[in-house]
């Protein structure tokens, strides 16, 4: 790259990248988790715009619907459900980690940029799926082309994903379940009966002891 000619896509990329990085920093620096969740939603939406620039419209839509929609609603729901006040940490054993974070950040970035410097790829031209006489399945990133690969070459990973999601459903049900009220009452009743039986047995044995003593 001898000279960087700024055209419209580059300017758009820089704008989106700036928003994404600022929102990501806001995510990790906020003390209130609800603000963190909101800035993560901003980052995710900007990423969807970048996916559109990379001619991946299906992934961009999925990003908005699944990530910014479903997953983030789940996060916000849990934050509201638990109704957490801003709490100061009672124990702060990890204080030194905060000082280690900045050098770690720089070291990790330096490593990655050392590799990226040598990346010099040109984007191959792709057909527009809307052009006349073009089969959408031959164009990159359309629903047709993704479905084509997903249900032929990669059908096994796809099915494995469905098993994974089933396991996640069962697991989260089991974890978040509260004991039923009648179950708790039954257990308490059983415990009370056992206790009274024990007391009775204790008393009769005491009485027989007294009789023996007499």
């Amino acid at each position: 790259m001898d000279q960087i000619a700024l055209d419209i896509p580059k300017l758009m990329f820089l704008a989106f990248a700036g928003i994404a990085v600022v929102a990501a920093f806001n995510l990790i620096l906020q003390r209130n988790p609800i603000y963190s969740a909101l800035s993560l939603i901003v980052t995710l939406c900007v990423m969807a715009a970048l996916f559109l620039m990379l001619s991946a419209p299906f992934i961009a839509v999925i990003q908005i619907v699944v990530y910014a929609g479903a997953i983030m609603v789940l996060f916000v729901f849990v934050i509201m459900l638990l109704n957490i006040r801003e709490e100061e940490s009672k124990v702060d054993r990890q204080k030194y980690l905060k000082w280690a974070a900045a050098p770690m950040f720089l070291a990790l970035l330096a490593q990655v940029f050392a590799v990226i410097r040598y990346v010099d790829a040109q984007a191959p031209p792709i057909q527009s799926p809307n052009a006349p006489g073009v089969n959408p399945a031959d164009s990159l990133g359309t629903v047709e082309s993704i479905a084509n690969a997903m249900f032929t070459t990669y059908v096994l990973p796809f099915e494995a994903t469905s098993v994974l999601i089933l396991m996640a459903i069962v697991g989260s049900q089991l974890l978040a379940r509260r004991e039923k009220k009648e179950d708790i009452e039954r257990i308490e009743e059983a415990l009370a009966v056992e206790q009274s039986e024990q007391e009775l047995a204790h008393r009769t044995s005491e009485k027989s002891n007294e009789e023996v003593a007499a």
């Binding site: 790259m1 990790i28 993560l40 970048l50 990530y67 996060f75």
Partner: protein, 100 residues
């Protein structure tokens, strides 16, 4: 056109911010969101490689990563709720029962 290295650089920056967030934050929900951020940074890399190689496989990987992220979020948030019921806290330093 935007060169590939720009996308990779943005992805690296976002991933690193996620790592730093995991290190400096103590709230378990924010930790979870940092993990989502890192997953998304990797997704950006996959999609940009898919574009620059002209191969749709990268986008398929992104689809599966998103499914895994959804499953992980559901189970993780259930664990957070169970933890909050038992401990009344979201600070990861307070949940140290297995620590010597």
């Amino acid at each position: 056109m935007v060169p590939l290295s720009w996308y990779l650089a943005l992805s690296a920056v976002l991933f690193t911010i996620g790592v730093v967030g995991v290190v400096i934050q103590r709230n378990i929900i924010v930790l979870f969101m940092c993990i989502e951020l890192m997953l998304n940074a990797v997704n950006l890399t996959l999609v940009s490689f898919s574009r620059f190689m002209g191969d749709v496989t990268g986008q398929l990987f992104v689809f599966i990563v998103m499914a895994v992220a959804a499953a992980e979020a559901a189970v993780g948030l259930a664990i957070i709720i169970a933890l909050f019921r038992n401990r009344e806290t979201l600070n990861v330093d307070e949940a140290d029962l297995l620590k010597l």
